[in-house]
Symmetry: C2
Subunit: 194 residues, 2 copies
């Protein structure tokens, strides 16, 4: 259960976390199984936990006034899930988060995470790299949304996160790209011919 | 010159930085005047510095194959400017950054910044808050790009950063919002009537 998180930390911190330090991590995180279609967070609630996905697939989305789901984030094994603003500011979330497959998650509060950062150097190092990578990924996504056509956005996703295309239904991929399922279907057909 | 940066640090770190520590900051940062339309960064170059804008206005943009400028970021006093990915990874930048008004900037390399983080607790605290705020701002922008109409994106910008609307020409605001100047003009006229 905790092996994925241990590997993740060792990889991001570029060093092996000690058994003693990892015991602190294990005490701070709470394991939860979450079934397909079960909510991790509902709009209006405070996102008290951020979750490390050790197995499964999840999505974060809002629902517009016409009932359309707008997916802002998709996540699979070794990704984190949570509404960052609500988690940090303890404000009601604008988002829903639910499981797209049966999932195993490890949950931690922001208070516990800040404590861990202060106590465990490998966690501090991991979070610094995570913050950096997140900023870079977000800048790429903003750039794609401003500058790229729908086809280019699809190709970028295919190049950067090919695993997502295998794990999530086409309707969710379309929503994540900000296009209609019909447009995505047309793009895929055109690319298949090329 | 350095007063704006000192106030910024005191505000973000929620404490007063000592004279001794601020001397280290002053040694690490290099002052530069940059005139309207002068480049801070050109596409293909490595972004060796990140800049704190103590006076002026700047923009970060790419140029598409048809010669259209796509603005990814606007900045004024007390904001930072730089291509984060290139700055951290030392890879060639996909962006240009130039001054939209005559500007005063304080420049620092990533190496110096990491040294400062280790030496000066107020800098470490400041950067943690900056990282957090940046992640929240980027998530909002991604959400707007997926879920919001052009009018809603304009209203969001007006609400969140009203100063930007005063400082940058309409063509740049339109580019930042990912819409044509004609669409922006139509939206503004419609809102004036409401």
């Amino acid at each position: 259960m905790f092996d994925a998180l241990r590997n993740y930390i060792n990889n991001y911190a570029s060093s092996q976390i000690s058994e003693e330090d990892f015991d602190l991590v294990k005490q701070a995180f709470k394991h939860k199984k979450i079934r397909k279609r079960q909510y991790f967070l509902q709009e209006g609630d405070v996102c008290k936990y951020t979750a490390f996905i050790s197995k499964g697939a999840m999505r974060q989305y809002s629902v517009d006034e016409n009932g359309n789901e707008r997916i802002i984030r998709l996540g699979i094994e070794n990704w984190w899930m949570g509404d960052f603003e609500s988690f940090v500011m303890l404000t009601p979330s604008l988002y829903n988060i639910d499981a797209v497959e049966d999932s195993d998650i490890l949950m931690v509060t922001n208070e516990q995470m800040q404590l861990l950062r202060a106590q465990v150097p490998a966690i501090e190092a991991t979070i610094k790299v995570m913050d950096q990578n997140r900023a870079i990924a977000y800048e790429k996504r903003i750039r794609a949304s401003i500058s790229f056509s729908a086809e280019e956005r699809y190709l970028e996703l295919q190049k950067t996160y090919p695993a997502l295309l295998q794990r999530f239904p086409q309707t969710m991929i379309a929503s994540y790209l900000g296009i209609s399922p019909e447009t995505l279907s047309r793009i895929r057909k055109q690319l298949a011919v090329k």
